[in-house]
């Protein structure tokens, strides 16, 4: 399908059009930062953003989610599966890194003998309208992990901000179908397409961090047992776990039961390998008792274990962990140290 | 809403009675409550008693947990200052409760949900009066909604 042009003034019209068919999630400014939220009016949307603080994984993998409820009856226990019939939804303004994170999570939640039905169900009916990154942040390093600010992977449609308008490019059948439903949207001309290409080049040039992460895969394994290496980073870590909670690819969770008078529910919640409790045995033994080991686990999981089992780096280079860390632990510094070791 | 649920709801609205959890010190207030009973002093039947060895044994967790579990109010009653069986348990408790009460009231739980009193083993009448006052106070506040889980 030919590229289209959407004037920024037409954006509300598009959003209202989308809202007729979909639940629309888009970046909304809230409490000084951006977050993807289901919107009830086009006014709430603010596409003039770098990226959201909370990763959009939350849409498919909520921070607390009911796996099932149970009722106590005279005959014992009755289990009730939650109704997860997710209405058709569209995420507007997703960045390339985050779309990539969805592909990683898709792969992970379907990896092995079991599928995760909760994640898959929420993910299934979702259309992604991406927004190319004209202005990557200084903390972005997507190009080092196989991504790019103009990455289209995982999206159905990608928008490129051309100032007063967006270049609209459909990337697959789903995208085509959607655009066909919007008759008033006009075709783009050569000039618009050229402009978008120039922006791509500019954005790529803007990302200065060229970290040889792909090549470091084995080096990570080599430094595995070097306590002093990991200590130089873990010594400043306060183990708060913000890096994992705000990571678009961190997917570990805890499962707890919550009892009420007539029954209860089983809930899963985000968890993090940065907490000592994460690995603590009932006997009191802890296989990863030190911060050094826990930090190593997070780094190794993303850059060594993930590639081993899923053939992908478990990081999309969004830089959220760098921005979130209150003690300024910077994953890029870890890479550089690995490289030098 | 089923018929039964609706019925429960209307009943709740019309004939709601507060449920109050009382932690009574074994050495004084519990005996005080006993005395009130033996002396056939009337007090509202809204309290459920948990006997504790000392008011100092009452962890503030218990109180918030009780409110979260749907108790409309709590009462902790111990020995008068100076009379603690363990010398100072009630004095430790007094500081704890003061701060807990200040915090939750600051956060917007109206005063009256958390109640504390000193009742000795000889004060059966005082016990019945304390209960009456606490029940009246909580009746005015209505059923607890904040802090309880949906």
């Amino acid at each position: 399908m030919k590229e289209k042009i959407l004037l920024k003034a037409q954006l509300p019209k598009l959003i209202e059009e989308l809202r007729k068919i979909y639940r629309v999630l888009a970046p909304v400014k809230d409490n000084g930062f951006y977050v993807y939220k289901a919107i009830s009016s086009a006014d709430e949307v603010d596409l003039d953003f770098a990226n959201t603080k909370i990763p959009p994984k939350e849409i498919f993998f909520p921070r607390s989610e009911v796996l099932f409820t149970y009722k106590r009856t005279d005959n014992g226990i009755e289990l009730i599966e939650p109704e997860n019939s997710v209405e058709k939804q569209v995420i507007l303004g997703i960045r390339g890194c985050d779309a990539q994170s969805f592909l990683l999570l898709d792969k992970f939640f379907a990896y092995g003998k079991f599928d995760d039905p909760y994640f898959a169900q929420r993910r299934k009916n979702t259309l992604l309208i991406g927004l190319a990154c004209n202005d990557p942040r200084s903390t972005c390093f997507c190009t080092s992990v196989g991504g790019s600010p103009f990455s289209e992977a995982g999206m159905d449609i990608i928008l490129t901000d051309l100032g007063d308008k967006y270049l609209v490019k459909s990337l697959n059948v789903k995208g085509n179908e959607l655009l066909e439903r919007i008759p008033w949207i006009e075709d783009a001309n050569e000039r618009d397409i050229f402009d978008a290409m120039q922006l791509t080049k500019k954005a790529l040039a803007a990302i200065k961090e060229e970290l040889p992460i792909e090549k470091l895969n084995n080096t990570f394994a080599e430094v595995f047992d070097e306590d002093a290496f990991w200590l130089q980073f873990s010594q400043k870590c306060i183990g708060c776990g913000s890096c994992s909670f705000l990571c678009p690819t961190c997917h570990c969770f805890d499962v707890v039961d919550e009892e009420s008078s007539t029954g209860g529910k089983r809930i899963r919640l985000w968890d993090t390998c940065q907490f000592p409790l994460f690995t603590l045995h009932g006997s009191g033994h802890n296989p990863r008792p030190t911060g050094r080991q826990r930090l190593r686990q997070r780094v190794m999981h993303k850059f060594n274990y993930y590639p081993k089992i899923l053939s992908e780096i478990g990081c999309v280079g969004c830089g959220r962990c760098i921005l979130a860390c209150s003690v300024n632990q910077d994953i890029r510094v870890v890479f550089k140290a690995v490289q030098e070791s | 809403m089923t018929v039964i649920e609706e019925k429960i709801k209307t009943e709740e609205a019309t004939s709601w009675e507060p449920k109050i959890l009382a932690f009574l010190c074994n050495w004084c207030s519990y005996a005080g409550a006993d005395l009130a009973g033996i002396s056939r002093l009337q007090y509202p039947p809204n309290i459920r008693v948990i006997r504790v060895p000392c008011s100092g044994r009452v962890n503030p967790f218990y109180l918030i947990k009780a409110l979260q579990a749907g108790w409309d109010g709590v009462l902790v009653s111990g020995c008068h200052p100076g009379d603690c069986h363990y010398i100072s348990g009630n004095l430790v408790a007094r500081r704890r409760f003061a701060i807990l009460k200040d915090i939750i009231e600051f956060m917007g739980i109206p005063p009256g949900r958390l109640n504390f009193s000193w009742v000795s083993a000889a004060e059966g009448e005082k016990f019945s009066k304390v209960v009456k006052e606490v029940v009246n106070k909580i009746k005015k506040l209505g059923p607890i909604k904040k802090l309880t889980k949906k």
Partner: protein, 323 residues
């Protein structure tokens, strides 16, 4: 400030040269503007890595409590609030006074990085310079000049301890008392005067963003329990969900646990990934213990915290006394 930095480096260099300490924990340049990161110096020649500026907001006491530093003789760079947190830890026997050489820094308040960043968002600050009374931020296609006094952390604005109340070495001369730009007493009084419903609504709104990651707990220099109440399972006190009732429960009990100990350093607020500002609550805690027990946390190392002691005549106006 540069003078302070030079003197601080010299002091650290001497301490390490004279082998009075095994390790000095201070601040070094961060990887982004307006940031510093902890610096662990063990060799005298590395002391030049240390910096002192308006972004040294971290509370380094947390590092003294870490296993890897137990038993070591540590030199620690502290501000007034840090020194107070340290005093609490010492009075609670978590840190041995003799094991720390406290290098006190006079402090005029640290910058509120989150506020500055929010000011220019969604643009990104790539360079920042702090002068006497201005913050000059630069980014792609923009330059912003902000008045420094408007961007000092709220907790610093009401701080009365510009010099560390306890320390071994005070670097430089005493600064002037910082003029309180925020009148916390008035702020609290105003809030307290609101009806309970409004206060509840405020906290519900404030905490609705809480994702229960417990970063506030983990960043707090006074949260050193080996097993935190939120992690206990038998019984499980706190529900683990992000239901507002569970969130409130957590924050009420956390407040209770730091009452009379909290020094208002703001570490919890800085660590919060959701930008939840807990300082109204911590200021209230300070006020409660001050009014009830005339106590201020972290001024002495040999005084028990107010929740660990009692007097016969503590106020008890809240005790039910029927007519």
């Amino acid at each position: 400030m540069e003078n302070l930095e030079t003197s601080m480096r010299d002091i650290v260099k001497n301490l390490l040269n004279e082998q009075k300490v095994d390790l000095v924990i201070g601040y070094q340049k961060g990887t982004m503007p307006l940031r510093t990161t902890p610096c662990f110096v063990t060799k005298a020649e590395d002391s030049n890595k240390l910096v002192w500026n308006f972004c040294c907001d971290l509370n380094l006491i947390k590092y003294l409590l870490k296993d890897e530093n137990k038993g070591k003789k540590v030199g620690l760079i502290v501000k007034g609030c840090d020194a107070r947190a340290l005093a609490v830890c010492i009075s609670e026997s978590q840190i041995e006074r003799e094991k720390v050489i406290i290098i006190g820094m006079p402090c005029l308040g640290m910058l509120d990085r989150k506020k500055i960043e929010a000011e220019v968002a969604p643009k990104e600050i790539l360079e920042a310079r702090v002068t006497q009374d201005q913050i000059i931020t630069k980014g792609k296609d923009f330059e912003h000049t902000l008045l420094k006094k408007d961007y000092i952390q709220p907790s610093c604005q009401a701080c009365h301890y510009n010099n560390p109340p306890i320390c071994n070495i005070l670097v430089g001369n005493q600064p002037l008392e910082l003029e309180s730009a925020v009148d916390w007493d008035a702020k609290l009084a105003e809030f307290e005067a609101k009806p309970p419903e409004e206060r509840w609504a405020y906290f519900t709104e404030l905490l609705s963003g809480c994702i229960k990651c417990y970063a506030c707990r983990n960043a707090c220099p006074l949260c050193y329990c080996k097993e935190c109440f939120v992690d206990q399972t038998q019984p499980q006190w706190v529900g683990k969900t992000t239901d507002i009732a569970d969130v409130m429960f957590y924050h009420i009990v956390r407040a209770l646990h730091v009452a009379g100990r909290c020094v208002g350093c703001g570490a919890c607020t800085r660590a919060c990934p959701m930008n939840i500002d807990l300082r109204l609550l911590s200021k209230k805690l300070e006020k409660i213990v001050k009014e009830r027990y005339n106590f201020e946390a972290g001024l002495k190392t040999d005084e028990p915290p107010p929740m660990g002691t009692h007097t016969a005549n503590d106020p008890q106006e809240f005790i039910t006394e029927p007519e």
